[in-house]
């Protein structure tokens, strides 16, 4: 299975998003590079609104992800509750 | 395959036809195994210029910064013109030797294989 990835700016909001993604996707690898955080996973990765809200301690709209996003790879499916990245093969 | 265009039978102007070079033609020259020169050179020259003048004046102006240039034995140099083996004659003009507009001339200098023999 190919790897999906999500790269965020290394800042104080992303820190909590990364924690949330780590909780919901125990298999991910997190790589820290200058100014950015790269998360990779085989086949699939999900960012759940609820988990991020819990970590941040406030409401969080999935579309807010764009404020801290750098790049991503995989087929995207986004709705009110999650952003999901996946490859079928 | 022809281009798919909005206009039927579309074709652009040929930007680099020889008529646009004011009596000159473009000749490219590359010295194999001497990658100090990152690419072959391009020169606009009159087709009537003799090969000897082309080599000793025009080519010299580009290649002489290489430490091996002065050591070249022209009798032992191997030439290629547009992908074919080629024997130049110093007294003949470029035109009569078949060196045309946008011809590519490559030469190789056996024994002189670049700085420290490394192809540079």
């Amino acid at each position: 299975m190919s790897k999906v990835y999500l790269i965020l700016q290394d800042n104080d909001v992303s820190r909590f998003i990364v924690e949330a993604v780590e909780d919901d996707n125990p298999e991910i690898t997190v790589i820290y590079q200058p100014a950015m955080i790269r998360m990779e996973a085989e086949g699939q990765m999900v960012v759940n609104r609820e988990t991020v809200e819990e970590k941040l301690g406030r409401d969080w709209d999935v579309q807010e992800l764009h404020l801290n996003l750098v790049s991503l790879g995989g087929n995207v499916d986004e709705d009110d509750d999650k952003l999901e990245l996946s490859w079928a093969v | 395959m022809p281009v798919q265009a909005i206009t039927p039978e579309y074709t652009g102007d040929i930007k680099d036809k020889v008529e646009n070079f004011h009596g000159n033609q473009v000749v490219y020259v590359g010295w194999d195994q001497h990658l100090m020169f990152p690419a072959a050179f391009a020169w606009p020259v009159p087709p009537q210029m003799s090969f000897g003048d082309f080599r000793d004046q025009v080519m010299d102006s580009g290649f002489s910064s290489h430490p091996e240039w002065k050591q070249i034995n022209w009798d032992k140099t191997i030439w290629m013109l547009d992908g074919e083996a080629f024997e130049p004659d110093e007294s003949q003009s470029l035109e009569s030797l078949g060196i045309g507009h946008k011809s590519l001339l490559r030469f190789r200098t056996p024994g002189l294989n670049g700085f420290k023999g490394m192809g540079v």
Partner: protein
């Protein structure tokens, strides 16, 4: 009672799809005259999907927030003399190349998307292109603002739009976009949204920008990541565009494959510049060009093409050649700029011994064998007081317009020469990839505005090179060009640091 909040899917439907109208008295074909000539068949525009379901209201809201964050940083950079915090004054030359070579492409992308957004019959595509067009305009504006503080302190930043249209090496990026914009609307989307955004811009905007951060350039990394957050949306859209075209009609598959092949190759040639920026112009290293290529093309692009195999799409043609070239192109490009450093609008230099060792370590198969000897020769000549500047103009590839500096991957010690004849004229290319592109549409590429030939034709002033550089390119000779060593940039830096 509070109004019920719409969910994302319903909002997208109302604010995008429902904006369309029926053509009751105008001919639809006349309204969208460029939709068919490329041979692409669309049977149902309603199948177009935006996976982010972004609507205009949310777009403005989040883009405004991005801008506020970004401009706060630009202010901080300016107020705190950010230019003094870069790792090394050599680094700033990468920013000069970015401003003259890349930012104008953002403007071209803005114009291109505004144009094609008008040409599509589907409302989803039109709205997506409109947003992307505005994004691209934002990118050029933020980039100009981000880089303008450098213009106060360093040479070479003064006339970037003028230079983009004229300078020999900038014809490489310019002609890339000119080529895309003169294609039809669907080719433009495949070229830019897919090949350029999805397969290639990641390399410029992720590892290079991380490198900018690592070299203390707060402004550049911030505009880079801010732009890339839009690009992530563009990339996703690019992938959706491809899937949409492939699902609409089987006849689209070979056309799309041909465009993928062409634009992958054109993109790789353009990226030679980025390879050199990463390996040679970032004094503090994050990763080598080869490593970046492996992560962002081989791994990420490989996953993508594996996913597209179900539609009958294969890896781009010549991906195997590119896999070998990743060991070579950055070195060939920097050497070319070094050799033509008198004709460049930024400074060039011999890498330090430590940097040469880093290159040997990162490129164990190729650096010591092919490229270190070039630098040894350069050092020897410099020590003799004869800093090497190539004294004649280079042969250019007709398609990519890069000097023919690429070597043959079968024999990397020899230059790669390819040629063809068309209507009795000879044409030369750096590679099979560029030669194939020409042969497929010779009527288009006979018009290539090759800077070297234009100089010979007398269209760039002159006739002497210094006059062309000064009057036609607007270089400040002796300040913008030549080696970093002894440059006014270097002189000023020393003064600031000793103060």
């Amino acid at each position: 009672m509070a109004a019920k909040k719409l969910n994302l899917k319903d909002k997208y439907k109302l604010l995008t799809r429902d904006l369309d109208w029926e053509f009751s008295y105008e001919d639809r074909k006349e309204a969208f005259p460029y939709e068919e000539f490329e041979g692409i068949k669309i049977t149902d525009w309603s199948k177009w999907e935006d996976p982010f379901r972004l609507t205009m209201d949310a777009y403005w809201k989040y883009q405004a927030e991005k801008e506020k964050k970004l401009y706060a940083i630009f202010d901080a950079f300016q107020q705190n003399n950010g230019h003094l915090n870069v790792s090394d004054p050599r680094y700033v030359n990468a920013v000069k190349l970015f401003l003259t070579g890349v930012s104008p492409l953002e403007y071209q992308a803005y114009q291109g998307f505004a144009h094609v957004g008008r040409q599509f019959g589907g409302v989803g595509a039109r709205v997506a292109c409109q947003m992307q067009s505005i994004d691209e305009l934002r990118h050029v504006q933020t980039q100009v603002h981000a880089m303008s503080p450098y213009n106060k302190f360093f040479d070479g930043f003064h006339d970037w739009t003028h230079m983009h249209d004229r300078v020999w090496y900038l014809s490489v990026p310019k002609s890339f976009f000119d080529d895309a914009r003169t294609g039809g609307p669907f080719e433009f989307l495949v070229a830019i949204s897919f090949s350029f955004e999805y397969v290639l811009t990641n390399l410029l905007f992720v590892p290079f920008m991380s490198g900018a951060a690592h070299n203390g350039d707060l402004n550049t990394v911030t505009f880079g990541f801010s732009a890339q957050s839009d690009e992530a949306r563009h990339m996703t859209l690019g992938l959706e565009v491809i899937k949409f075209l492939l699902e609409q009609h089987e006849d689209n598959v070979p056309i799309v494959q041909k465009w993928i092949d062409k634009w992958f190759w054109r993109g790789c040639r353009l990226l030679s510049l980025v390879g050199m920026m990463m390996d040679y112009m970032l004094p503090n290293k994050v990763m080598s060009w080869k490593e970046a290529w492996e992560v962002y093309f081989e791994e990420a692009g490989g996953a993508l093409f594996k996913d597209l195999a179900r539609y009958g799409i294969r890896m781009p043609k010549y991906a195997d050649v590119v896999e070998k070239e990743k060991e070579h192109v950055s070195h060939q490009a920097w050497w070319t700029f070094y050799a033509y450093g008198h004709a460049a609008g930024f400074h060039t230099w011999i890498p330090t011994d430590k940097e040469l060792d880093w290159l040997s370590e990162k490129y164990p198969e190729t650096f010591d064998k092919y490229y270190r000897p070039r630098w040894e020769l350069a050092k020897k000549l410099e020590a003799e007081g004869k800093r090497f500047y190539s004294q004649a103009l280079p042969q250019l590839c007709t398609t990519c317009q890069v000097p023919m500096m690429f070597t043959d991957m079968e024999n990397p010690g020899e230059l790669s020469y390819r040629s063809t004849e068309y209507k009795g004229e000879k044409y030369h290319f750096c590679s099979d990839g560029c030669c194939d592109i020409f042969k497929d549409e010779p009527e288009k590429y006979v018009q290539s505005w090759l800077p070297v030939h234009q100089i010979f034709q007398g269209n760039c002033g002159g006739p002497d090179v210094p006059d062309i550089l000064k009057d036609f390119y607007h270089f400040n000779l002796g300040a913008d060009n030549l080696d970093m060593k002894g440059s006014p940039d270097e002189e000023r830096w020393k003064q600031w640091k000793s103060a």
